[in-house]
């Protein structure tokens, strides 16, 4: 079975936090740990997560913008960081419910219990998907788990997708193009990115042109079709069939 890729959603510009805009992506070439809100830093402190760059396994979350970067995941097994079987922010802010999670200390204990080391996480996710989901593609497309877990998190009546989506955290900035398998974006974002690439010297532009020509999907921002996140997840799901 193919590994579920890492997904990073970026591009929401109307927040105080730094985010990956096209010119910055091209200029810096890095996904930055600094690209997060104070609320996320609070979660990191509370749960002893360290200074993290966040990905979801297989989920393109539209709340963070409409440019979706999809990575082959194997590289992350060899770096510092960790994973959890759910969104840690969702637990901290009370958006995810599970048995016994009735205080801050209990929430931290719950997170600690469900932490997964990065070496081998891809295989552990496959085991998790086999145990709890109909198919890996269904997980990527947001279908709920078919069975519950012992803490009733997976089938909690008020829990949503982030309650069962794996969060993968690395303690380093990540080169945007390294292991990039797919860049899915609106036509507006694509235009900005293309303009930024045009300002590069030819040798630097060449690698971005490869991304634009062979590893990207452009979604018509004005069209009636699926959103960027849905389009990205459908593409990922097709890899897992």
């Amino acid at each position: 079975m193919a590994n579920v890729p890492l997904v990073r959603t970026e591009g929401k510009p109307y927040t105080a936090a730094a985010t990956a805009m096209p010119a910055g992506l091209v200029r810096d070439g890095l996904l930055l740990r600094a690209s997060k809100t104070d609320a996320t830093r609070e979660v990191e402190r509370a749960f002893d997560l360290g200074d993290c760059l966040y990905f979801y396994a297989g989920h393109a979350c539209p709340d963070f913008g409409d440019v979706v970067l999809v990575y082959d995941p194997e590289w992350s097994e060899g770096v510092s960081g960790g994973a959890t079987l759910f969104d840690t922010g969702g637990v901290y802010w009370g958006k995810i419910a599970a048995d016994g999670m009735n205080s801050g200390a209990a929430a931290k204990a719950y997170v600690d219990t469900h932490k997964v080391a990065l070496p081998g996480w891809c295989g552990m996710l496959q085991t998790y998907l086999t145990e709890y989901f109909e198919t890996p593609a269904g997980y990527v497309l947001g279908e709920p788990p078919r069975v519950d877990d012992p803490t009733h998190r997976l089938r909690g009546p008020h829990n949503e997708r982030r309650a069962w989506t794996w969060e993968v955290r690395v303690h380093q900035d990540h080169p945007v193009r390294l292991n990039l398998r797919l860049l899915c974006m609106t036509s507006d974002f694509a235009d900005e990115l293309r303009m930024a690439v045009l300002s590069l010297p030819p040798d630097e532009a060449a690698t971005w042109e490869d991304v634009l020509d062979h590893r990207s999907l452009r979604v018509d921002a004005a069209g009636p079709g699926p959103t960027v996140s849905i389009q990205a997840e459908r593409t990922i799901a097709s890899w897992l069939l």
């Binding site: 591009g11 929401k12 510009p13 109307y14 927040t15 805009m21 096209p22 010119a23 200029r27 539209p62 709340d63 913008g65 409409d66 609106t186 036509s187 507006d188 974002f189 235009d191 900005e192 293309r194 303009m195 930024a196 690439v197 045009l198 300002s199 030819p202 532009a205 042109e209 634009l212 020509d213 452009r218 979604v219 018509d220 921002a221 004005a222 069209g223 009636p224 079709g225 959103t227 960027v228």
Partner: protein, 245 residues
């Protein structure tokens, strides 16, 4: 002569609206549901309703765009939004008419909610206005000594870049083609090769005739500064030689 580099952050124009909550983080409009006072968005089927405090929270977090004016949901309607830089750039740049748009302070953008076809038509009108200004500027610049043409060329370049956002592929194809031609014309007047730009245009126009037309229009706009050969078609012995003045 050193030409100014284009601004790093391009001002944008984009769409948002059911069923496309895309467009750089701007989310679908929320409509007031009378008489309860609740609000709902068309991004969900069935519609998802929100209470007052919840709406405030979502608006503050930028998850919802709240249209203050009373509006009726339009089937397939969407928000057309454009940031201030796009509509009213500073300095001696072509400004677009904003009188029919609403200003959203929280978003820092001009917005209007309307049918998709009307929004595309509005964009096309903006694009054509920008292109017309760019063409006039380039023709004027081409008649000047190259050292004196900077301001006109810079403005035409800005026009061309903004016009490109008025033609989100595959819509308003003619505007996009002309935008590329203006941009390429400006590059020619700046003494820059246009090969990379034409390669980029090919991502939207894979057919040779359109690319040839873009190149020909650009060279026509940049006459007499533009070289008359085509690097894309190969003529390595010739090189760029600015018009002697």
């Amino acid at each position: 002569m050193k030409w100014p580099l284009p601004p790093e952050e391009i001002s944008i124009v984009g769409f948002s609206g059911a069923p496309v909550p895309g467009g750089a983080g701007l989310k679908p409009p929320a409509f007031r549901h009378e008489p309860t006072g609740r609000l709902f968005t068309l991004a969900h089927d069935p519609p998802q309703f929100y209470g007052g405090p919840e709406v405030d929270d979502y608006v503050q977090r930028g998850l919802l765009s709240l249209i203050e004016k009373p509006l009726e949901p339009i089937d397939g309607g969407l928000i057309l939004y454009a940031d201030r830089q796009f509509m009213e750039p500073p300095g001696d740049r072509w400004r677009l008419e904003t009188s029919t748009l609403g200003w959203d302070e929280k978003l820092g953008a001009w917005v209007i909610y309307e049918e998709r076809s009307r929004a595309l038509g509005r964009l096309a009108r903006w694009g054509r206005a920008l292109i017309k200004d760019a063409q006039q500027r380039l023709r004027a610049a081409a008649k000047l000594p190259i050292e004196s043409a900077g301001a006109d060329v810079e403005r035409a370049l800005d026009d061309g870049r903004r016009a490109r956002f008025c033609a989100p592929p595959p819509e308003n194809r003619d505007v996009r083609e002309d935008a590329f031609a203006c941009w390429a014309g400006a590059w020619l007047l700046q003494g820059r090769p246009i090969d990379a730009l034409l390669r980029d245009a090919r991502r939207d126009f894979p057919d040779d005739p359109t690319i040839d037309r873009i190149e020909a229009t650009a060279r026509d706009l940049a006459k007499p500064h533009a070289p008359i050969y085509s690097p894309r078609k190969g003529n390595p012995k010739l090189s760029w030689a600015p018009h002697a003045t």
